[in-house]
């Protein structure tokens, strides 16, 4: 029986990633904000043979993380896989106009995840096995004017995960940073379509595969983004600022 802990289980990418993993040999602990949506996701996984339990969690309230983790990991429950998949994308204009919205995005995307990973750390160090994956974004690889706040929220996560990953090596726990590009989900519904966009199903299949393989380090999904972002990171600022991005 493989035990999965999925934070942000109702997100489009999370659903597309865990659906291929559903089977009679899988147990899912799904954590998300809305009980109705959790019920729909749970029913789908159960018809595919998996056993499922659900827990409520609102990432904009980080004070609920400690009790959540205590509840999930009490009584020596061991998870083989953790996937952290929640996040929000607010247009930069909205961030600039509202300190509250900026604060909210930062709390959900970065603070809540760093706190959650810190809270589960002692349990995984004791468990001495397992795999932790976090969905970041290509947006964290370089700051852009129209994505400054969102990009930073992911960049902070990426750097934290680099250290977190190294710290867990002696404990045989693998940590994976997943960087999707443009994925056709509600998150980018307001953006113009791009030939680089992929469906949640396509991205989810790749992520499911990476989870099964227990990949560690950083992966771009689809893989071609690693080349694009390598170029983007390398470009001197004098050139980058002239690009229409």
């Amino acid at each position: 029986m493989t035990r999965y802990l999925i934070i942000g289980a109702t997100s489009a990418i999370a659903q597309a990633s865990i659906r291929p993993l559903a089977s009679k040999a899988a147990h899912f602990t799904l954590v998300a904000k809305s009980p109705d949506k959790l019920a729909i996701v749970a029913a789908d996984l159960m018809t595919r043979g998996a056993t499922v339990e659900t827990h409520l969690f609102d990432a904009s309230h980080p004070e609920t993380i400690a009790p959540l983790v205590a509840n999930l990991l009490a009584n020596g429950v061991a998870y083989d896989h953790v996937l952290v998949a929640h996040g929000i994308l607010l247009p930069q204009v909205e961030c600039e106009q509202s300190l509250e919205r900026t604060q909210e995005m930062w709390t959900v995307n970065t603070t809540s995840i760093i706190l959650f990973l810190t809270a589960i750390l002692p349990f995984f160090k004791k468990q001495r096995h397992g795999h932790i994956a976090v969905i970041s974004s290509v947006a964290g690889d370089r700051g852009r004017a129209n994505l400054a706040t969102y990009g930073a929220s992911k960049a902070a996560l990426d750097t934290f995960l680099e250290g977190y990953r190294l710290g867990l090596i002696p404990f045989h726990v693998g940590v994976l940073t997943i960087k999707p590009g443009y994925v056709e989900t509600p998150m980018i519904a307001h953006l113009a379509p791009s030939p680089l966009t992929r469906s949640a199903e396509q991205v989810g299949h790749r992520i499911a595969h990476d989870l099964e393989q227990q990949k560690t380090g950083t992966v771009y999904v689809p893989r071609f983004w690693s080349v694009i972002m390598w170029v983007v990171r390398w470009l001197p600022e004098g050139i980058f600022r002239r690009l229409p991005v």
């Binding site: 109705d36 729909i40 029913a43 789908d44 595919r48």
Partner: protein, 437 residues
């Protein structure tokens, strides 16, 4: 700017003014004054899935399976799930679709809205026959459970109702028990329509799935030649090694218009006919190439280039089938309406619960025709007159050309159907065929 929402044939084009992509089927209906239409995979050949200047509601996020009964094979799922996804779930569990069209890349909602049919119509009727209930979301945000006993007029209106009665959010369908994914297929060459009808009469008694590929470009002397294909599910033993599920080959760009022309199509047809060297040939195959031969080529509609193509499908009643088909084929040949994919089948008499359902007892022919200009449309209108003369009708799900008068004659029940059309829903097709009002 929105991603494109085209139809499969691409002869007809449309640009929606607004696009909604609800994530959860529990989301409320959008509040917008423009007429709206649900869009699944966009595999309708003509304009039943287009809504120029209106609102498109993309249902492709509606992909959850809500329940499945392993004993009875009853599946309840959201309407955006494709038949491919249903099969990926059900086949390993020993269940198949009771009715499937020639592509699995259509949504459950689309299959209901077009009341699709398949190679086993003579045994199982249309897709709508195996739908026990569904939820319909109307534009005023009303959710109605529709079944043969509840909201039964809307149930009947929505099956084959082309998306005009509302949005199907989820549906319950009956699947069919199978013992394995393989099919025993038999191919037989025939050289005349009489021979086709003879083969069909015999095969329909013994075989679950029957269809014929027809060479519509054959020389006059060999008019009505083709290959008759029949199949049945089989349980295979370990030592039989059939053709396995194929890899897909994408058509990455639109072919230039000249590639599919009368000469190349005629040549292709001749090769395809003569490839079947033996008179009769039985072999084992996986269900994929048997049911979905074109699905291997993703975006095969690009073979027709930017000009696009139309699909012409009609049914002729049993008593007029041989004569009518012969005249139809001669007109097609003489009019140089060259099709490289023409399909012929005898429909059974199982009635569909759908108000606007297309199949009826008789023979149906479907052909792809590249769009070559307004003369083609005129030629198709002439064919329509022939079909009407023989008491037949056309299939709205594939139509991109029929005149309002033709639609009215084919479907006299259109008037009572229109009372169930949601005032907030419309499509290019509906506006086209009701433009006389």
């Amino acid at each position: 700017m929105h991603k494109l929402y085209p139809c499969w044939g691409r002869y007809k084009q449309a640009t929606p003014a607004n696009v909604f992509a609800p994530v959860w089927q529990t989301d409320p209906a959008p509040t917008i004054a423009l007429p709206r239409l649900a869009y699944g995979c966009g595999r309708s050949y003509g304009d039943v899935c287009l809504n120029d200047g209106g609102a498109i509601i993309n249902t492709s996020s509606f992909k959850h399976i809500l329940a499945f009964n392993e004993e009875t094979g009853v599946l309840r799922c959201e309407s955006g799930l494709t038949l491919a996804e249903v099969l990926a779930f059900s086949v390993p569990r020993g269940w198949f679709l009771l009715v499937t069209p020639g592509t699995k890349f259509v949504t459950v909602g689309g299959a209901i809205a077009n009341d699709v049919h398949g190679k086993n119509h003579h045994r199982a009727g249309t897709f709508g026959r195996h739908v026990s209930c569904f939820e319909l979301l109307r534009s005023n945000n009303e959710r109605l459970l529709c079944s043969p006993s509840e909201n039964k007029d809307l149930f009947s209106g929505t099956i084959g109702g082309l998306g005009l009665t509302g949005i199907i959010t989820w549906a319950e369908i009956q699947l069919k028990k199978i013992t394995g994914p393989f099919i025993e297929q038999t191919n037989q060459r025939f050289s005349s329509l009489e021979e086709f009808f003879g083969l069909s009469a015999a095969a329909d008694l013994s075989d679950e799935y029957t269809v014929a590929w027809l060479d519509s470009t054959a020389p006059r002397s060999q008019l009505g030649r083709g290959i008759f294909m029949s199949g049945n599910h089989v349980a295979t033993t370990m030592d039989q090694k059939p053709v396995h599920a194929p890899i897909s080959v994408p058509v990455p760009f639109d072919l230039p218009d000249f590639v599919l022309n009368p000469l190349s199509i005629r040549a292709f047809n001749a090769v395809f006919f003569h490839k079947e060297k033996r008179q009769t040939h039985t072999f084992l195959t996986h269900y994929e190439p048997f049911f979905y031969p074109l699905d291997r080529l993703t975006d095969w509609n690009r073979l027709y280039g930017k000009r696009g193509f139309l699909q012409y499908q009609c049914v002729l009643p049993t008593d007029a089938a041989v004569t009518g088909l012969r005249e139809l084929l001669m007109r097609i040949r003489d009019g140089k309406l060259h099709s490289f994919l023409s399909v012929l089948k005898v429909f059974g008499s199982l009635a569909s619960p759908g108000m606007l359902s297309f199949p009826r007892a008789g023979a149906t022919i479907a052909l792809d025709v590249p769009y070559t200009g307004p003369d083609l449309i005129k030629a198709l209108h002439d064919l329509d007159q022939l079909v009407l003369h023989y008491g037949g009708r056309l299939y709205p799900a594939k139509d991109a050309h029929m005149l309002p008068e033709t639609f009215r004659t084919c479907y006299p029940q259109w008037k009572s159907f229109s009372t169930f059309v949601d005032p907030g829903h419309s499509s290019d097709f509906w506006r086209r065929v009701t433009s006389f009002i």
